[in-house]
């Protein structure tokens, strides 16, 4: 590939290689620090989740399902988790859940503030939009490899590659949610003497919450789909089984592990979706 690009009129590939190598040579310390803190965080999340006995873990899911969506969904959760348990994928599923949650947390910590910034600043928005397009459509393998070069094989490059893929919906839907706040509601904030921060925390963010929660939901879904691919750099979890099934042409194993991914996805999707319900549904809860 590098050979081909040397003959190009515009050797972007060479420049990227140069940049990557320069960064590897000169900023190793920074990458180590980032990598270590992410590794520590992901370890902690996994340690906690794996430390919870399966029955209690399952109980928590069923209870949340019952609280947010009612008994029908709770029955589904019982059946789904039972199936995962019975096919022997429990610990891998929890590992995948831990990876997904770690990546989601990092994505939201980065994505929501950037989304707010985009909503408030035209220039930032103009710059960020193509970057988001880039992050979402650039084939995952392309940045999976440099991530592994920077951080070594394992969970960290997997999580970071996942973050690249999962940040855009958090940014986009936070931005959209804030922009969709009714003009007169923003004016009301100003008219009663809100400072910039008060406007953000007392008017814009609360009103944008349903949209932001939709962003959280999308981020989780994106993260879940990406942590499977991230197993190629050794992220672990259900992705390992999916990868093994491809390598061994074991269709049955592939289906079982894939099914566990699907069931986990449905559970996470429905639960997080319920938190983004309209304010009327929320107030009914409250009153």
């Amino acid at each position: 590939m590098a050979d081909a690009s040397t003959q190009d009129m515009l050797p972007i590939g060479d420049w990227v290689n140069e940049i990557i190598h320069f960064m590897l040579d000169h900023n190793a310390g920074a990458f180590d620090a980032i990598g270590n803190s992410i590794d520590w965080f992901a370890n902690m999340v996994e340690f906690v989740l794996l430390g919870i006995p399966p029955l209690i873990m399952g109980g928590i899911f069923v209870a949340v399902g019952l609280w947010r969506l009612g008994w029908k969904f709770a029955v589904f959760v019982v059946a789904a988790l039972g199936l995962i348990w019975a096919t022997g994928f429990w610990s891998q599923t929890i590992a995948t859940l831990a990876l997904t949650l770690s990546a989601t947390c990092v994505s939201l910590v980065l994505g929501v503030p950037v989304g707010i910034w985009c909503a408030r600043n035209k220039i930032v928005n103009t710059v960020v939009r193509p970057v988001l397009d880039f992050m979402q459509t650039m084939p995952a393998f392309v940045y999976l490899i440099p991530a592994a070069m920077f951080f070594g094989l394992g969970r960290v490059p997997g999580i970071l590659a996942t973050v690249v893929f999962a940040v855009p919906p958090a940014v986009r839907l936070t931005n959209l949610g804030i922009r969709q706040v009714n003009k007169e509601q923003v004016e009301a904030g100003h008219a009663f003497g809100c400072t910039s921060w008060q406007l953000l925390f007392k008017v814009q963010l609360p009103i944008a919450l349903p949209s932001i929660m939709a962003g959280v939901n999308q981020t989780i879904m994106m993260a879940l789909s990406m942590v499977i691919i991230a197993s190629m750099v050794g992220a672990g979890g259900l992705g390992n089984d999916v990868l093994a099934s491809i390598q061994r042409l074991d269709v049955g194993l592939g289906f079982e592990s894939g099914l566990a991914v699907v069931l986990l996805a449905i559970i996470l999707d429905r639960i997080t979706e319920s938190f983004g319900a309209s304010p009327s549904a929320r107030s009914e809860q409250g009153s």
Partner: protein, 350 residues
């Protein structure tokens, strides 16, 4: 009663779309709004507007959509910044305030009611009512007590724990009104506040507003496109067209002497004879002689009262001012002439 000016607006301009200094030069050179738009692409929203609002009056700004009235009301609390001119509130020019002073001013002196209510859907009625006080940093107990007090005034106390979407439009706007009153502002801005309500609810809200004014007089700057509303609640009415003020005056002055056809058009569907007063009904030809005969009425006496007095008496009715000076005489024929003039105007323009 001696009145002082609450707001004095002097030569106010608002230009949208950049090139404002260029546009200002063109405006001063006497160019028309349309020509400026053709040449620069900039829209002149408010064009050389001057007026004053007296302490304690309800000043109604009227105009069709696009006339600049929504822009003008937003210049007064600086939701929009004027391009040129002065807005003097309580003797201070507020166009020069910095951001911090502006925030203080909005918290202390003014509040606003919006056409779309603009309540916060995530807050209960009580929390919405207390919003302004919360922003100003008033502690929870004090602000909730104050909000509750105002909610009681408009009969919404029992809904304090509800959320806006659980209330009807009229009730939501009452919450909007409470939110604006809770901060106890000396100036209240109301932007088409009742326009989104059905006619019955609109009248009800106007009554509430007038009742609140009787209990505690505030200066109210009210934007409306509804003439009936303006005549009903307005102490004075200003009429705006294409960014300019066409006429400012009391409801009677505007009905009696509309400045141009644009103003006259507003009255098309309104029976203006209802708003006639004794001083408008004076017989032009009759010499004023201070005859002791017959009854007399004050100049502001309403048409129904004049008719009642006039019935069953042969002598003309005297119009006397507060000093007992006779201003003129009303005869049955002068009343008939005036009423038919107004009616004919109304039907002619249909």
């Amino acid at each position: 009663m001696k009145q002082s000016a609450k707001i004095v607006v002097k030569n106010l301009y608002k230009v949208f779309g950049g090139k404002s200094s260029e546009v200002m030069d063109m405006l001063r050179a006497g160019e028309k709004k349309d020509a400026i738009f053709q040449k620069t692409g900039s829209v002149v929203g408010v064009n050389d507007v001057s007026f004053s609002v007296q302490e304690g009056e309800i000043f109604v700004l009227m105009g069709l959509s696009g006339s600049g009235k929504s822009t003008l009301i937003r210049l007064i609390n600086r939701l929009m910044d004027p391009t040129d001119g002065q807005i003097i509130l309580d003797g201070k020019d507020i166009t020069r305030l910095n951001h911090k002073q502006l925030v203080d001013l909005r918290r202390r002196d003014m509040s606003m009611v919006f056409q779309s209510f603009a309540l916060m859907p995530h807050r209960s009625v009580l929390d919405n009512a207390a919003f302004g006080l919360e922003i100003a940093g008033v502690d929870r107990k004090t602000r909730e007590a104050r909000a509750m007090e105002v909610l009681e005034q408009v009969g919404l106390a029992q809904f304090s724990a509800k959320y806006p979407h659980q209330l009807s439009g009229g009730m939501q706007q009452r919450v909007g009104l409470v939110r604006a009153l809770a901060v106890n502002p000396s100036l209240m801005l109301m932007d088409e506040a009742f326009s989104a309500l059905d006619p019955l609810k609109r009248t009800e809200m106007q009554d509430i507003l007038l009742q609140l004014q009787r209990e505690h007089r505030r200066t109210i700057f009210f934007v409306s496109h509804d003439l009936e509303e303006a005549l009903r609640i307005g102490t004075r009415i200003a009429i705006m067209e294409g960014g300019r003020l066409v006429q400012v005056g009391t409801p009677q002055e505007i009905i009696e002497k509309p400045a141009d056809d644009y103003v006259r058009d507003f009255f098309k569907s309104v029976d203006t004879s209802r708003y006639l007063q004794a001083k408008d009904l004076i017989e032009a030809g009759l010499p004023v002689h201070a005859s002791a005969l017959g009854q007399h009425v004050p100049p502001s006496c309403s048409l129904p009262d004049v008719l009642q007095r006039l019935l069953g008496q042969t002598e003309p009715l005297q119009v006397r001012d507060a000093n007992g000076e006779c201003l003129g005489l009303i005869t049955p024929s002068s009343v008939l002439t005036k009423i038919s003039q107004h009616r004919l105007q109304t039907t002619a323009s249909h």
